[in-house]
């Protein structure tokens, strides 16, 4: 009975998946689209003046204007570069210290409490100190972002390394893997799924902290656009910058997931659908 039911359901499932490829993203975009269209209509029919909450058409025009002047590209690149540098440093530090603390009990006892203590400090509180130490320019910004990225990555790696299944490690021991072999062939693949999640939350925090960093005095960047829009009373510019953040955040996360997915195909997931 299952034999006859098998192929039919498989085919149905396939068709459903093919259809889902188009309907699923569409479903997600429905709500923001409806809200935008609604607000556009409200302003268009003069039910509200839309001066403080600009309608989508005005935001779009601002976008086009900024893009034509090359401003959009300049600010976006500046912000992207900061996030990339901060994310890079944060990930490297978080991964190394996390792996060390997860692997060695001595190391964990030695510096994990201090790091947990530092983690309790809201990272924005470091801004004044970083400016005093590192100046107002790029260094302090990148360091702040790196600090923000560091903690989720560190915590994720420590937890992942510590929870590697003893039974799997024993398989490595039975085949007499060296320390390096154990790390490369057992520990790294075992921690990868958790690591990807840690990287994603790290990246999210990176985007959060870049704004804080750019608020503390920048001459370019999307955070600068936000402040600029506020000071010059241009809400459309603020909304444009916010939309740019949303798009960039989503795209970078999507790239991260896309790059790592091929390494995680083995995972036995209850829901194979991508987030």
């Amino acid at each position: 009975m299952t034999a006859t039911a098998g192929p039919a359901t498989a085919e149905q499932k396939h068709r459903k998946l093919a259809l889902g490829r188009f309907t699923r993203p569409a479903l997600g975009i429905l709500l923001p689209l409806a809200l935008a269209a609604g607000w556009e209509a409200v302003v268009h029919f003069h039910l509200a003046n839309g001066r403080l909450v600009p309608p989508p058409s005005v935001v779009y025009a601002t976008f086009a204007e900024l893009a034509d002047a090359g401003e959009l590209q300049r600010h976006t690149l500046a912000t992207l570069a900061r996030v990339a540098a901060g994310f890079g440093f944060g990930v490297v530090a978080g991964t190394l210290l996390g792996a060390l603390a997860g692997y060695s009990t001595l190391a964990r006892r030695l510096f994990d409490p201090s790091l947990q203590g530092l983690r309790a400090v809201p990272s924005i509180a470091w801004i004044p100190l970083f400016i005093l130490w590192l100046g107002i320019f790029e260094t302090s910004k990148v360091v702040l972002i790196a600090v923000g990225v560091f903690f989720p990555v560190y915590l994720g790696v420590v937890g992942a390394v510590r929870s590697v299944d003893r039974k799997i490690v024993e398989v490595g021991r039975l085949f007499r893997l060296s320390g390096v072999g154990m790390v490369r062939r057992i520990l790294l693949p075992a921690v990868l799924p958790t690591y990807v999640i840690a990287l994603r939350s790290g990246l999210g925090l990176g985007w959060m902290f870049v704004i804080a960093a750019e608020f503390m005095g920048a001459s370019e960047g999307l955070g600068f656009l936000l402040i600029d829009g506020q000071q010059l009373g241009k809400p459309a510019e603020i909304v444009a910058a916010i939309v740019a953040f949303a798009v960039l955040g989503k795209i970078t996360d999507w790239i991260l997931v896309g790059v790592t997915t091929p390494f995680l195909r083995w995972e036995d997931r209850a829901r194979s659908e991508e987030s």
Binding site: K167, E170, R173, L174, F175, L192
Partner: protein, 263 residues
């Protein structure tokens, strides 16, 4: 030749798990270790494998002392313990990392054919049934051609039909190179089907209580009278081993220190 000389194991919490286990196994021999739960069967196997260090005594393979996992000793656990991030073929080739890629692939493919899973070479472990996964684990353990293969209740998580099938299959594979098999089980049928010698263990502390030799011709008929006879002997020995808590007619050498701990 595998020599187990006076192995004892006391856990850090003071529990005496094994006491004075001595056993010599000739090449090609199949030894089954049976006993009630908690009699130290698995502890013994882990000590032989080098995963755990015994508190007393030593294990020698071809005269060489085993202090950590040894290339001549392979092991199969109750769970397949496949690495979920490797394909079935790469799992089988896991112990051959030092060989060239091409040779490794060839050996792994041949081993998969041997266990009847050639079509699963590119599958992920999660896509296998329990019996298939255990067959992959057997292939992985046998590919490096160990002289000793330790099996810790290897089929106990499988249904009866798959279990009987895999027991026959294991004998089939064993016949290729005739490694020593040491099989821990709580399934008396399994012990009688597979083993040349059946060691009945007694708990607290774990000791060998009785040794039953079995020279039934292979392949063994699970329904034959001779099979039944051996099985009854093992069951009777098991009964006796459990009925009398570690006491009086101690034919085995006794470490008084261990006994003191138990009393």
């Amino acid at each position: 030749m595998l020599e187990i000389q006076g192995i004892g194991k006391t856990y850090p919490n003071g529990v005496r798990a094994l006491d004075g286990i001595t056993l010599d196994v000739k090449p090609g021999e199949i030894v089954a270790i049976v006993g009630g739960s908690g009699c130290g069967k698995s502890t013994l196997l882990r000590a032989i494998s080098g995963l755990d260090t015994p508190s007393q005594g030593r294990v020698l393979i071809d005269g060489e002392q085993v202090t950590q996992p040894h290339e001549k000793i392979g092991m199969i656990f109750q769970e397949p313990r496949l690495l979920p991030w490797l394909t079935v073929a790469d799992n089988v080739g896991f112990g051959l990392e030092h060989r060239p890629r091409r040779e490794r692939d060839r050996l792994a493919a041949a081993a998969l054919v041997r266990v009847g899973l050639a079509d699963k070479a590119k599958a992920w472990p999660r896509e296998l049934s329990g019996g298939q996964a255990q067959r992959v684990a057997i292939a992985r353990a046998l590919v490096p051609q160990p002289e000793v293969l330790l099996l810790d209740e290897p089929f106990s998580a499988l249904d009866a039909f798959t279990r009987a099938d895999l027991q026959d299959h294991l004998l089939d594979l064993w016949a290729d190179l005739r490694p020593i098999l040491i099989l821990v089980t709580h399934d008396v049928d399994e012990a009688v089907v597979l083993a040349d010698r059946i060691m009945v263990m007694r708990p607290q502390p774990g000791r060998i209580y009785e040794e039953i030799a079995s020279d039934l011709p292979r392949p063994r008929d699970r329904q034959s009278a001779a099979f039944d006879f051996v099985k009854r002997r093992v069951l009777a020995a098991l009964d006796r081993s459990l009925a009398k808590p570690a006491t009086v007619d101690d034919t085995q050498t006794t470490s008084s220190e261990g006994a003191a701990l138990w009393w």
